[in-house]
Symmetry: C2
Subunit: 183 residues, 2 copies
């Protein structure tokens, strides 16, 4: 069997475009992966964030999320520490407890990106949130039983919603084996 | 306000790497979007597919899925027709009924890709499945109540699982508003 031929089609500042035996895909330059945070407050509200996304030129509604170790000062952070940092940056809530649910490829046909889901609880409000730099994030705290309706209503208004939001809604009540998460 | 500066960093055969005001992202050359098919047989088994994915060099477990209009002979197909074709190609099951659930960006921070979920029912077995060309897909038909446990067991064995699989598990029983799908 011949060794794989991997070619770098372009090396960007944040992304690389690669070809492996003719199969093209994108790779983040900082590849520790991304984390999506399913967080509930003590009064059972779920934290969602609204923001503008440049590639799709649209506002999105998402669970809080971010990249692990993508900034020099946090280069060695763990998944759990990165999730806690991103949740605090974006929403202003600090989590006492964070548990990993599962992780896997976010788009295995076109990217090497890996995406983890975590469940956050024991939240304390520290500041108003909004994100780092120019992220300009709006935070929503939605009663757990209203989340799917809230998301669908925003879609009807024209917000872009990543289908993974519905994985997050599933993980509000279940672990990766489908058992009740007890949270 | 200045017009956006969009630069093509690399134009591949299947993907482009772009930069918009310094924000890098990937775009498929055929941009009609992708579709993920949540299909149940009349005896309430759920169709999952196992295949090797080049970018991540790993076998994955996924719902059947594919790209709309990415081949010349199907360039003008609708989302529903594309979903029916991909389900048949990959699994060998023909769906009498396909309903769109929702769609949105699959990775809004690094890609323009749009991903739709559909629900397929009224299935008839036509052939053994396996995919087009060299896709080499293995089909699993898993009882509905066992799906999450089945997926988690494969993850424990080393399969890569896209978190969107759990959106599919949610859509087995719910629509995008969180109501019972009645299927």
């Amino acid at each position: 069997m011949c060794p794989d031929e991997i070619r770098i089609l372009h090396a960007g500042r944040y992304l690389r475009l690669l070809s492996r035996n003719g199969w093209e895909y994108a790779e983040r330059v900082h590849p520790q992966g991304a984390v999506i945070i399913v967080a509930t407050t003590d009064d059972d509200r779920v934290l969602l964030v609204e923001q503008y996304r440049v590639p799709i030129q649209s506002r999105t509604l998402e669970f809080p999320a971010g990249l692990i170790g993508d900034q020099t000062e946090f280069a060695d952070e763990s998944l759990i520490d990165g999730a806690r940092r991103e949740l605090l940056e974006e929403t202003g809530w600090l989590a006492a407890r964070i548990d990993r649910i599962m992780g896997g490829p976010s788009s295995a046909g076109m990217s090497t990106e890996v995406m983890h889901f975590v469940r956050a609880s024991g939240l304390t409000r520290v500041h108003a949130g909004g994100g780092a730099g120019d992220e300009n994030i709006t935070v929503h705290a939605v009663p757990r039983t209203e989340v799917a309706r809230f998301v669908a209503a925003r879609m009807a208004e024209g917000f872009a919603v990543d289908p993974k939001v519905y994985a997050g809604i599933y993980f509000l009540d279940h672990d990766a084996r489908g058992e009740s998460s007890g949270l």
